[in-house]
Amino acid sequence: MINPELIMHEVTLGNIKDILMGWYDVDKHHYITINAIDSGETLTIDWIFSEYEVKNIMHIFRVENIEYKSNIPSMMDVYPCAWVSEWDLADMFDLNMENAHRGMFLEPEAPTGPLLKESYSGK
């Protein structure tokens, strides 16, 4: 059974970009992805990292209780590869993601935010 050590970093939407700008070390940290979880009332968003050649460690920068139409900052200034995961999440959760181009993962006629609970829970 795998037991990863999860290092949780408490952040807010207001300070996440500044905190990542100071913390992220390109020689040490590997950006994995950004993830969102819909509770049905608010969103939680995680920015997820590992460390090169360090066993079973992941860093999670978590913002909880995000209102659905909040503005989410892009991290492309911190690590330029952020755009694919940010555009994906913008499509899937109908997010106001900074600089996100909509429609890369979903066709124009597809329902918006298919991973929002209201889109599949019947509520």
């Binding site: 590997h30 994995i32 079973n56 330029p80």
Partner: protein, 361 residues
């Protein structure tokens, strides 16, 4: 004054079996700008995983994210569910999982290198690679029942054990495959004409690999020591002779070489595992429904595959997030095209071994 031409590459292109679209702006055949669209095969798998299936059937859905890395998708999910349920699998099951995961890597890597040869004009070499690759797919068929898309992982273990006849057959086929892979590796390494299309083409520097968070053989061919098998204890790689393979050249040629070296290492690990299989059951009983969240990394053939899984104590999962290696490698691919010759676009794309089914999910 150069001639400026816009060239579309895909969404259906003869070089790539899956749909992806690149729109290149070129000047005197040098690519100056790239637009990319990777979402042609979005199937709503993450949504289906939390709305249409019970948690103990989701692995069958996830195995269909991609035919080639089906074992790593199902495996990542099952490792996560087992962690949430507190399930400790037997060492025999872990070894069997490792053997199938590495067989999957062998046939995926060989096909990827074969595709590069094909777009460089070596169609006969492609067929030869695919012929040798049959050894890996035949073993997979004997163990799991399928040549691709195998549902071998189960929550608590695996679906089938190996018989003495299986072990004998696997030994014979892997020894033969190893001999043939070394022969092919030598050709890919030294052939002058193939080298014209692969050496110093599509070069990713070490700094670029880090800056763009590349994954898998793409990262390792640029010297980035990044492999989930080395960083995350999802299977007993430390016991079977795993060796991290890297090169420093960063070009199409280096990516081919890393794949060949990884195939050799996968064969050696599988031979060790199959001949040193621990005694014990292949599956343990599992009770309960997953509650809580977990973060899982496994190494798919194309690189790191990440899963986030959240259960709420009911039979349906709360959230399943899939992040695949091609998804991670798209940004560097887009950057890499700029400044490359349009005629090199095919070997560059194929050397990335892109999987659009995985990326779009």
């Amino acid at each position: 004054m150069g001639s400026k031409i816009t060239v579309t590459f895909g969404s259906q292109h003869i070089a790539i079996p899956e749909p992806v679209s690149f729109v290149f702006e070129t000047e005197n055949e040098i690519i100056t700008k790239v637009d990319v669209d990777v979402g042609y095969v979005h199937r709503g798998i993450e949504q289906a995983a939390v709305s249409k299936f019970n948690f103990n059937n989701v692995q069958f859905l996830l195995a269909r994210v991609c035919g080639f890395c089906s074992i790593t998708h199902a495996g990542a999910y099952i490792h996560g569910v087992e962690q949430l349920l507190g399930v400790e699998t037997t060492r025999r099951a872990d070894y069997l999982r490792l053997i199938v995961t590495e067989l999957d890597r062998m046939h995926s890597h060989l096909l990827a290198n074969g595709h590069v040869a094909e777009v460089c004009g070596y169609e006969n070499l492609f067929m030869q690679v695919v012929k040798y690759r049959e050894n890996a797919t035949e073993i997979l068929e004997a163990i799991t029942g399928n040549r691709v898309q195998y549902d071998y992982y189960q929550i608590g273990g695996v679906s089938r054990d190996l018989s003495p006849e299986h072990i004998k057959m696997i030994n014979a086929k892997l020894v033969e495959l190893r001999k043939n892979v070394l022969k092919m590796r030598d050709f890919f390494e030294t052939d002058y004409t193939l080298g014209l299309k692969t050496r110093n083409v599509g070069t990713i520097t070490y700094d670029m690999a880090k800056e763009y968070n590349t994954a898998g053989p793409i990262a390792r061919a640029s010297g980035l020591r990044m492999d989930a098998r080395n960083e995350f204890d999802f299977l007993p790689y430390g016991e079977v002779g795993y060796v991290l393979q890297t090169r420093t050249e960063g070009d199409v040629w280096a990516r081919n070489m890393v794949r060949f070296d990884e195939v050799i290492n996968s064969i050696d690990m599988s031979l060790y595992a199959v001949n040193n299989l621990p005694e014990g059951d292949i599956k343990v009983k599992v009770k309960g429904k997953p509650k809580g969240e977990t973060f899982i990394r496994v190494e798919a053939p194309r690189g790191e595959c990440f899963y986030y899984i959240k259960g709420n104590g009911t039979k349906v999962m709360e959230r399943v997030r899939v992040r695949v290696p091609t998804y991670s490698n798209i940004p560097v691919l887009r950057e890499l095209f700029v400044g490359s010759l349009y005629s090199d676009a095919q070997p560059i794309v194929l050397s990335f071994d892109p999987c659009l089914s995985c990326t779009a999910r």
